[in-house]
């Protein structure tokens, strides 16, 4: 354990105010894809780090799905050793600049911070982002030590957070790691899903470059299950183990009348057109609905719904509605996203649910037919389940609607790998501890096992799978 350089007595530390994240002003940012949060300065980061009580048994670390040693990295920030702090995080988390931006800290590390009992919790996310950005902006990064080459080949299917985090551990342990991606750019949901204003793509690319520098190989334009089957990855491409980390890519629709109308999108399609294909930039060829001066609605209450509605606002929508069937309290989105959305003028229509889409004679969307909802008894998730208020239908005039109700399991791999078992919802069945599947040498992690979750939970699953693959490969060596 490193020694504390913090000379402020704990009694005084609790009185220090939590630093505010500097933000682009709402009036300006609602027209721009520039990142909303600007990051702490050195002074801000130091002031925030000094608030840490340096608990002997830190709760924050237990609250972190990948178990980052938060106390030690924060102590390094206090000591001014920002690169050391970044290296400390990277031992457990290969994507710190990303998680510092998109993790729901309020329910994880910060939610467990003891300061939060009486005061505001330590800004762990802000500090993580600060050290990762510092490292990137200074063009240097400490690569973790690498074990000697094992001669084992591991394939990772999918380059999203689960695949990337697994690749970082496996390459460090000396394996020859190749990550396959179906799209033309590496990063999965970090590239096609999360918008530029929340996670600049340059940051994702940089984190991938670090992995590349560590020795990870990347191949784009390969659809496993189509271009190569899982069996061929063993027989033709000679991999010793395969990790399936493809995410939950199948968009959910409402299955209500009029969903085929032009102007009705899945969140996946709308965000992919804008983020991956950069349809917001007239220099790029991929088209997207022209939101300028139009009224639009996004259906859903999660982070993806927030991303979609704020994207439409930036594309020039006149009024942007968020239609959600429960109340704001039940919204699964990060608190900060809902706050930012509200500041940007997004209209929240809670306790409202679409029952159909209405079009004109050209097949273009003209309105969403909605019904008012009220909260009933809590359901299995503990959230009070909404019920329709009879006779409360009304039409919300909009020209574009985006459905952001989560995703299901994409059956591409499962359907071409008959001995890979799935559960009744189509997700890959994997042992919760080892993440082994029914097929020898094949592991699965992330949303394709659990259904839609968060970036950090996918990363945690990726690490767990990496550890299990390591054990599998060691056993293989022992027995051969």
């Amino acid at each position: 354990m490193s020694e504390s350089k913090n000379t402020i007595p704990p009694k005084e530390r609790v009185k220090l105010p939590r630093q505010h994240m500097p933000e682009e002003p709402p009036e300006e940012r609602r027209h721009s894809f520039l990142e909303v949060n600007r990051g702490l300065t050195v002074l801000g980061a130091t002031s925030e780090a000094l608030r840490c009580l340096e608990c002997a048994k830190p709760n924050c670390q237990h609250g972190c799905p990948v178990n980052v040693n938060i106390r030690e990295f924060v102590q390094k920030v206090v000591a001014g050793d920002y690169l050391g702090a970044a290296a400390k995080i990277r031992e457990d988390n290969v994507l710190p600049a990303i998680t510092g931006r998109v993790c729901p800290q309020e329910t994880q590390c910060e939610g467990c911070c003891i300061l939060g009992n009486k005061f505001e919790p330590l800004g762990v996310g802000y500090l993580e982002r600060f050290v990762a950005d510092y490292e990137r902006e200074h063009g240097v990064f400490g690569l973790p030590e690498k074990a000697p080459a094992t001669g084992k080949k591991v394939a990772i299917v999918g380059s999203g957070p689960a695949g990337l985090s697994a690749s970082g551990d496996l390459v460090r342990w000396g394996h020859d790691v190749t990550v396959f991606e179906a799209l033309h750019e590496i990063g999965g949901v970090l590239i096609y899903g999360i918008p530029e204003f929340r996670l600049p793509k340059e940051i994702v690319r940089h984190e991938i470059d670090v992995l590349r520098a560590m020795g990870v190989h990347f191949e784009t334009n390969v659809v496993i299950g189509k271009t190569l089957t899982i069996d061929e990855m063993f027989t033709e491409e000679k991999f010793d183990a395969v990790l399936v980390a493809t995410g939950a890519g199948l968009p959910k629709f409402l299955n209500v009348p009029g969903e085929h109308l032009n102007g009705v999108y899945s969140a996946n399609e709308f965000l992919t057109r804008v983020n991956l294909m950069r349809a917001y930039d007239s220099g790029f060829d991929e088209p997207v609905f022209d939101c300028r001066g139009q009224d639009i609605a996004v259906v859903g209450g999660g982070n993806t719904a927030m991303d979609a509605v704020r994207t439409a606002c930036r594309l020039g929508a006149k009024t942007s509605y968020l239609v959600y069937r429960r109340t704001e309290k039940e919204m699964p989105a990060r608190l900060e996203e809902a706050k930012h959305a509200r500041e940007e003028g997004i209209q929240f229509l809670c306790l409202t649910n679409p029952v159909g889409f209405i079009g004109d004679d050209q097949g273009r969307l003209r309105a969403v037919r909605c019904i008012k909802m009220e909260l009933g008894e809590p359901d299995e998730s503990g959230r009070r389940s909404p019920c329709e208020v009879p006779g409360s239908e009304f039409d919300l005039p909009v020209q574009m609607a985006v459905i952001a109700l989560g995703t299901g399991a994409n059956p591409l791999i499962q359907s071409t790998t008959p001995d890979l078992n799935t559960n009744r919802r189509g997700y890959i069945a994997a042992d919760p501890e080892t993440l082994r599947t029914s097929k020898k040498g094949v592991f699965a992690a992330g949303d394709i096992v659990t259904g839609s979750a968060t970036v950090i939970l996918a990363m945690a699953a990726g690490r767990k799978a990496a550890k299990s693959i390591q054990e599998y490969l060691q056993d293989m060596t022992r027995w051969n």
Binding site: G139, V140, L250, H260, N262, E269, P287, N410
Partner: protein, 309 residues
């Protein structure tokens, strides 16, 4: 990067490409497609695989220049490359011994129909092919189709080749004569496929169409290609591209395909004003990719400068 090894026009604006893509060549089956992106700012477009040679590691694509991307692609020559090519996507055609099969290709649809017609022929079916186009120039792959067909009809709108009329005319006559085929495969413009479906529907003839809806990823992720059928919405990219013609709502398909008509027209105008600049974009994209195969176009250092790989 996927090098183009052969390229030549089959008709004005219809070009045949042979592209190096060994993995796709090994796996592709009749009826499947690829998604192509020709330059770093380009859109992703689906193209049906017209043929392939696993031993050479090549696939054949036949492209009709309609919008900016296809017209731009048709400027490419051997020595150029496609920046991104992914596949084979979609379900292969269902090939079995049906008996008598009628394969209808309208315009460039012949290129899409050809591999399936060939597979039907190889499976021992009696293959009757009907090729149609507005005029003689737009009837493509006639020789190739003749080689694998038992009977061939050619129709043109102006009578410049074969008989004057529509592709459905020989089909209607066949049915009137009491020759009911066991399978009809129709590939071409939406309205042509719709017309074929209406001819066969009253006779209950199993009819299959290959649908060209708008796509982004081609793997079932976006749902943009959704087709309305009698059994609910289906994705052309993973549930298709071939569907039972009597089950498809062609009006909605035609409507959805018009979704970006204005933007597409604007891009085409822009392309026509300066095709060389667009071509340069393609060549620059592929050159950069070739110079940094490990890192591609997207490798930018911490300070924003290009870094050596």
């Amino acid at each position: 990067m996927f090098p183009i090894v052969e390229a030549g026009f089959l008709a004005p604006d219809i070009k045949r490409f042979v592209v190096e893509a060994p993995r796709i060549a090994r796996k592709r089956q009749a009826g499947q497609f690829v998604i192509v992106r020709v330059h770093a700012k380009g859109e992703r477009i689906p193209l049906t695989i017209a043929d392939g040679d696993a031993s050479r590691g090549t696939i054949t694509l036949i492209v009709q220049g309609i919008g900016k991307t296809t017209k731009l692609m048709n400027l490419l020559e051997p020595g150029d490359a496609l920046l991104d090519l992914v596949g084979p996507l979609g379900k292969p055609s269902e090939i079995q011994r049906f008996g008598t099969t009628v394969v209808i290709g309208g315009g460039v649809g012949a290129a899409i129909a050809y591999p399936t017609a060939k597979a039907l022929h190889e499976a021992g079916n009696h293959v009757i092919s009907i090729l149609g186009g507005r005029n003689k120039d737009l009837v493509i792959l006639e020789q190739e189709i003749r080689a694998i067909s038992d009977e061939v009809f050619i129709t043109t709108d102006d009578g410049s080749s074969g008989r004057k009329g529509l592709v459905i005319d020989p089909l209607k006559e066949m049915i009137a004569e009491g020759r009911l085929p066991d399978l009809v495969l129709a590939i071409g413009p939406v309205r042509m496929m719709q017309a074929v479906a209406e001819v066969t529907r009253p006779h209950g003839i199993h009819t299959v169409v290959s649908l060209n809806s708008l796509m982004v990823d081609g793997t079932g992720m976006c749902g943009g290609c959704r087709i309305v059928t009698h059994t609910g919405a289906k994705f052309a990219c993973v549930d298709g591209p071939e569907f039972d013609a009597h089950n498809v709502d062609f009006e909605i398909l035609a409507q959805r395909n018009r979704m970006y008509a204005d933007r597409e027209a604007a891009e085409l105008r822009e392309f026509r004003e300066n095709p060389d600049a667009c071509l340069k974009e393609v060549r620059d994209s592929c050159r950069l990719e070739a110079a940094h195969p490990e890192v591609g176009l997207r490798h930018v250092g911490a300070q924003g400068q290009e870094q050596p790989s």
